[in-house]
């Protein structure tokens, strides 16, 4: 059987830098959790329902429904800083 030597067509990927995850909370009681609306395909309506769930099932937890400032393609340091300063955790939704 004759063989051929051919070139690989794929490009060169960058190095990956593994990033640490944030420490988790010991409890959600009394903590403020931001529900962050990514403003995509009615995600605000979904997060409203999630907020209602928290109100019913975890009333000691404080939820803040927050929309990102622009589209999800744009970084939003102002919102992230607010969450860092005033909140303890975040739920982002709904992305693809």
């Amino acid at each position: 059987m004759s063989t051929l030597s051919v070139l690989d067509p794929t490009g060169y990927p960058p190095r990956i830098s593994a990033k640490p995850l944030a420490p988790r909370l010991d409890t959600l009681n009394g903590r403020t959790v931001y529900l962050v609306d990514c403003r995509f395909d009615d995600s605000d309506l979904f997060l409203q329902q999630m907020q209602a769930w928290f109100t019913e099932h975890m009333p000691s937890m404080i939820t803040v429904l927050k929309r990102i400032s622009s589209v999800y393609l744009v970084d939003d340091p102002k919102t992230w800083e607010e969450i860092k300063a005033r909140g303890h955790a975040a739920i982002l939704g709904v992305g693809h």
């Binding site: 070139l7 960058p14 420490p23 959600l28």
Partner: protein, 437 residues
């Protein structure tokens, strides 16, 4: 990912189940494979509050576990990823393991390196011949691409572009155009769920030098250069960026047939009543260039411009476009001259001014488009112009559907008739070809 890694806030990301593989892959290539991600059924869009509450109360379709239990655990249970910063390399070999021709064809298919049509195997000899089409060195980096905003950029060299050009069946004399396309960094394999394709318009002397078609059948499978340059652009995009695999790195819901050769054609400069497209974008007529459009999905068409109601006909065509997909008119020279005659558009700018002013709809209708809600409304509320001003319009006010700078006109066709069409898409950039010779 930014909140978690940069701001140290424990975060759960919610997604719909169709995106499980892609979002896990994105988290991995961003160095956070253990990111807390919870899934609900697709779609969210258009569901009632009761249906969305059922998602919240229901189970994650991927894991089968209760959605809210996963959310709470995602914020409170220590995850494997809390382990400090490390780095690791990924490498791409230059050569594939030698094998028989039949096995190599199978391998290329299995690895999703093709467009599922037969390819020319990129042997060292064939790649060397392709490289003779440029003075650039094989190891020179041409550019980088990624399939979506959240993925990492991959780089490619002149040799990698040549490999894909060989696979597409291109000839060495086409190679400078293919390199210019690669240098744009605009992928022809976007992973957008909107099933985008790209479009490439070639201008200048290179068109005649390599025998490109700007006339009859220019946008169809009737010219070797048009066909293989566009195909090479697509293959380079999917391989150069590290993949375009449905469910993993390609999410276009219906796919897009234009992607087979990225609608690559030459402008019919000789029969156009206006200046060539690349001259509008800063080059001279004696320079060669390729201009790239992305987000190409929608098409409208008609025949000619009738004397009595041509304005209304064009307006209705424009109104048929999604306002998030601005129009590029692709005019046969007959239609182009009709625009000059009917509308007195001696300059292309005058035609574009008229198109901008003609394409209008009620503000309430405009803002209710889903794509406008997703991508424009947030920017308007953020204060970005011209959308912030548009947002102030009364609901019944007729507002422009598009920004003027997003409307374009290209002349192509062989004058077998005056058919013309509107392509929805976004002009990205014009890249000179001559530096890649």
């Amino acid at each position: 990912m930014t909140l978690e890694a940069k701001y140290g806030v424990p975060t759960v990301a919610m997604h719909t189940d169709k995106f499980d593989r892609v979002v896990r892959s994105v988290a991995e290539v961003n160095g956070m494979p253990d990111l807390a991600q919870v899934f609900v059924p697709q779609p969210i869009m258009g569901k009632t509050p009761r249906e969305l509450r059922a998602y919240v109360d229901g189970v994650d379709p991927i894991t089968g576990r209760t959605v809210m239990q996963e959310v709470v655990e995602g914020l409170t249970r220590t995850r494997d990823g809390a382990r400090g910063t490390i780095e690791y390399d990924r490498s791409t070999p230059r050569l594939v393991q030698p094998d028989s021709e039949e096995n190599l064809h199978r391998l290329f298919l299995e690895r999703n390196w093709t467009d599922n049509l037969p390819i020319v195997l990129p042997t060292e000899e064939r790649v060397a011949t392709m490289l003779s089409g440029t003075r650039r060195k094989p190891d020179e980096v041409v550019g980088r691409m990624r399939s979506t905003h959240f993925r990492e950029y991959w780089q490619y060299t002149v040799e990698k572009v040549a490999v894909n050009a060989v696979m597409a069946g291109a000839r060495p004399e086409y190679f400078p155009v293919i390199l210019a396309l690669a240098a744009t960094g605009v992928t022809a394999r976007s992973s957008s769920s909107s099933a985008m394709a790209s479009m490439a318009v070639v201008n200048g002397p290179i068109r005649a030098e390599i025998g490109m078609n700007a006339g009859t059948g220019a946008m169809g499978p009737y010219n070797h250069a048009n066909a293989t340059i566009g195909r090479a652009y697509g293959l380079l995009s999917q391989n150069g960026q590290g993949g375009s695999v449905p469910g993993l790195s390609y999410m276009g819901n219906q796919g897009n047939n234009y992607a087979y050769n990225s609608l690559t054609f030459a402008e019919n400069e000789e029969r156009s009543p206006w200046e060539p497209f690349h001259v509008q974008h800063g080059l001279t007529p004696s320079q060669s260039a390729v201009s790239v459009f992305s987000g190409v999905r929608s098409t409208a068409f008609t025949l000619g411009l009738r004397e009595k109601h041509w304005r209304e006909h064009v307006r209705h065509l424009l109104r048929g476009m999604d306002p998030h997909g601005p129009p590029t008119l692709l005019l046969d020279p007959i239609a182009a001259r009709q625009f000059v005659d009917r509308g007195d558009f001696a300059k292309k700018d005058a035609l574009i001014d008229w198109l901008y002013d003609t394409a209008r709809m009620r503000a309430s209708e405009y803002w209710d488009y889903q794509l406008i809600q997703n991508y424009v409304y947030p920017r308007a509320t953020f204060g970005e112009e011209p959308w912030a001003t548009k947002l102030e319009a009364a609901p019944e006010e007729e507002i422009p559907m598009f920004r003027r700078e997003d409307i374009h006109v290209v002349v192509v066709g062989g004058e077998t008739n005056g058919y013309w069409r509107i392509m929805g898409g976004n002009y990205q950039k014009t890249e000179p070809v001559d530096p890649w010779r």
